[in-house]
Amino acid sequence: MSEVAAPVVEPTPPTPRAPANEAVLRLALVGNPNTGKTTLFNALTGLRQRVGNFAGVTVERVEGFFRTTSGRRVSCLDLPGSYSLSASSPDEQIALEVLLGRARDGWRPDVIVVVADAAHLERNLFLASQVIELGVPVVIALNQMDAAEAKGISIDVPELIDALGVPVVPLVAKRGQGIDALGRACEIAVTLPAPSRRFTLAPAVTEALAPMVERLEANGLTTSAAELEALRLLSIQHLEPHVAEVPGLDEARRHAAVTLGQIGIAPQRLESDSRYGWIGEVVARAVTTKEQYGRSLSDRIDGVVLHRVLGPVLFIALMAIVFQSVFTWAAPMQDAIEGLIATLGTLVGAVLPEGDLRSLVVDGIFAGVGGVLVFLPQISILFLVIGILEDSGYMARAAFLMDRVMRRVGLHGRSFIPMLSGYACAVPGIMATRVIENRQDRLATIMVVPLMSCSARLPVYTLLIGTFVPASTLPLGFGLQGLTLLGMYLLGTLAALGVAAIFKRTLLKGPVRPMILELPAYRWPSVRTLGVTVWQRAMLFVRRAGTVIMALSIVLWAMATYPRTSVDPSEPEVVQAEQQLEGSALGQVGKLIEPLVRPLGYDWKIGVSIAASFAAREVFVSTMGTIYGVGSDEENVQALGDRLRAERNPETGEPVYTTLVALGLMVFYVFALMCMSTTAITVREAGGGKLGWSWAAIQFGYMLALAYGAAWLVYTVGRALGY
C-alpha cells in the first residue's frame, strides 16, 4: 500500500462550514444494484421523499430528507444503481455527473455514501475505489452484514477503514441497524480531508497519463478527480458528452493509449487491472471467508427456478398470479371507490341547485376524481407484487428466462412484466417499465404496452360480442363468443410484439445489447421498503397523471354539455339527453368526423361515441346508451343491444350494425389508444415536458392509424367477401 501524498487542492471554495443545525448537509447515495441501497434510503428518510426526473432525461431523481441524531438536517439524493462510474447507461451517466458536481440543477454533494454489499465486497469495492478518488468526503455503508455473516464472511472493519482511508459503517439497513451511526459518520466525514487514490501506478504509466490529467485539471477538476477521469476514460472507447468539450482531451487520450501500448500495456484494461489488483490486497487484509461446503441455498433455489422444465412452469404460474392479482383483487376495491365517489357526488349534487354547476360538480369533477382514484388499487397491487419479485431476487431470474423470447422482437427480458400488466391496465404497466435499464428498450416497451387489451376494453368487447356474435358452440366445446374474445386479446398481443420490433428497428434503433445480468442472492423482501415503494408510486400517479386526467375530464364534460340545445321537455328524460348530446360540441364533432368513419361502415352516432371515448374507451358504451336513448346505466346494456340490432339506415333501410361492422369496431378498439390516463402517464414516463409529449403523440398517432387501417381492412375485405 502506498503512502498517499494527497495534494490538498480545493477546486472551488467550499461552502463555509456553518455550525450544525444550520447548513443542510447534501448527501449522495451511490452503490451497485442489489446492495439494499433503496432500503437504506428508505430507512434514512422514511416518507419524506420527493420524486422527480433529472432535467431532460428519463432517469428518476429521488431526494429525501432526514435529521441526524445531533439534529443536522440532511438532504439525501438516491442516485441510480451503478456498477461503476464508466457511464455505460444513462443512469450511470447521471450518477457520474452529479458526483463530479456537474449536475444541471447545480446540486453538489457534501458527502458521498457508497453502499457496499458486505457479502460481495470485492466487486463492490470497484465503484467505491472510483468514488474515493472524486475528491469529495466519502463514507462506506457496509450493508447486509447479516447476509455476509450467514455466508461465513467476516470483515475486519478497522482494517478496512485503514485500507480505504474513509469511514466505514457496518449496517443492516433492513432492520435499521447502524442507521444513526451512518448519520454521525457523515457529519464527521465532511470535517476530514478529502480522500484520494490509495494505490500508485507505475511511474511510466503516470507519465503517460500526465497530459490528460493536466487538461482535466485545467477544466476545473481536482487533481484526484482528474487522475480518476484519466484512468477511467482510457477504459472506454467513446467520449462522454461532459468531457468531449475539454480542449485537447481526446488527442491527449489517443496519445496516452499509444504510449501505453509501446510499454506493453493495454489501455482499456489498465483501470480494471490496477483497481482489482489493489482490491485483491484490501480483501486479503480485511476479509476472512470460512470455506463453505456444498452449494449455497441461493444456488439450490436456482437449481429449480432455472430448471429447463420446472423453471418456465414456475415462471408461468407466478405470472398467472401477478395477472390474477391485478385483474381480480383490485376489482372489489375499484367498485368500492367508484361507489363511494358516486355516492359523494350524489350527496353534493343534492345540495346544489339543478343546473350547470351541479352537472359540472357531479359529471365533471366527481367523475374526474373517480377516474383518477379508480386506478389506485391496480397500481398499488401491481407495485406490491413487482416489489416482492424484485426484492426477493426473482425478477432477475424472470428476466433471465424471458430474455431469449423477448430478444426476438428486440426487447429485453424485463419488458415482459410491464407488457403482462398491460392486460389489466396500461397505466401501471407503463409505470412498471422502470425496471428496464436501457432507455431505448424502456421507450419501446412504453410504446406497445397499450396494445395489450386492458380491462377497460372489456365492456366494449362484451357489448359488441354479446349483441352481434352468435352464441353458437363449436366442436370441442369452444363457444364462438369466447373465441372471438380470445382473438381480440391475441390480436393486440401480436401487434404489440410486431410494433416493438418495428420501433426497435427504426425510431428507437440501437444495438440489442447482449445480456449481462447479475443474479442476486435470494432474500426476504423488507415490508417497510415495499410499503414505501407502493406509497411512492401511488402518490406519484395521483400527482402527475391525476391532474391531467382531472383537467381532461372537465374539458370532456364541457364538450358534451355545451352549447345548450333546446330540448322538448315533454319527451322522456333519456330522449332529452339524446337530443342534448346531439346538439353539443361533442355531437358536432361526431357529425364532423362522419365522413372519416364512413369508410369503416359507421354513422355519426358511432362517430360521437368514438369521439367521446377518446378520454376513456369504456365511455363508448355509456355514450352509445345515451345516444340511443336507453340511458347510460349498466343495466341497460341488454336494452342497448336490442336497440342496436333494430337500428336501420334511414335511407336504405338496411341494418346499421352488421356483424361485420361490430367486428371492425372491436378491432378498432383493440388498437386505438382511447385513454387519456395512458397518455398522461406516457408523457411522464417518457421524460416529461416536450420530450414526453412528443412520445405520447407518436404513441397516440400510430395506434390511431393502426386502428383505422385495421378496421377499414376488416370492413372492406368483409364486404368484398360478401358479408
Binding site: Y83, S84, S86, S88, A119, H120, E122, R123, F126, L127, S235, I236, Q237, H238, G264, A266, Q268, R269, E271, S272, D273, Y276, S298, D299, D302, L306, H307, R308, G311, A396, F400, L401, D403, R404, R513, P514, M515, I516, L517, E518, L519, P520, A521
Partner: protein, 111 residues
Amino acid sequence: MSLSVSLPVLPTAPSVATGGPDGLLEAARPCTLSQCRPGSRATVLGLDDCGSDEACRLRALGLCEGTAVSIVDSRHAMVLDVRGTRLALGSALTAGITVQPLPAAARSARG
C-alpha cells in the same frame, strides 16, 4: 447456437497463473467461455471479441483478464461465479470471451 467461431489470436499476456499449487497434469487448450462445461473453472484470457462497451462493463463487474470464474449453470444462458457474485451472460458474450480452462480438483483426479 452456432459455435463455429475460429479461435482468436491469444492475447500477449500469457503469464496468467493457470494452475493451483500442485501443478497441472496437462494444460487444456485455450477456448471460448461458451465451450466450457458447467461445473468447470477457467481463467479469463481476453475480452477482445465482446465489443468495447460490453468489455468495459464486464471488467467493471469484475470479469477481467486474469480472473478465475466458475461455470455454475448453462441450461438457458451461462451463469458464472465471478468474485462471489452470480453473473448471467448471453451467448454473444460467452462466445467472445477467451479462457484458459482450469482443471477442477475432483475432475483432474478422475482424469
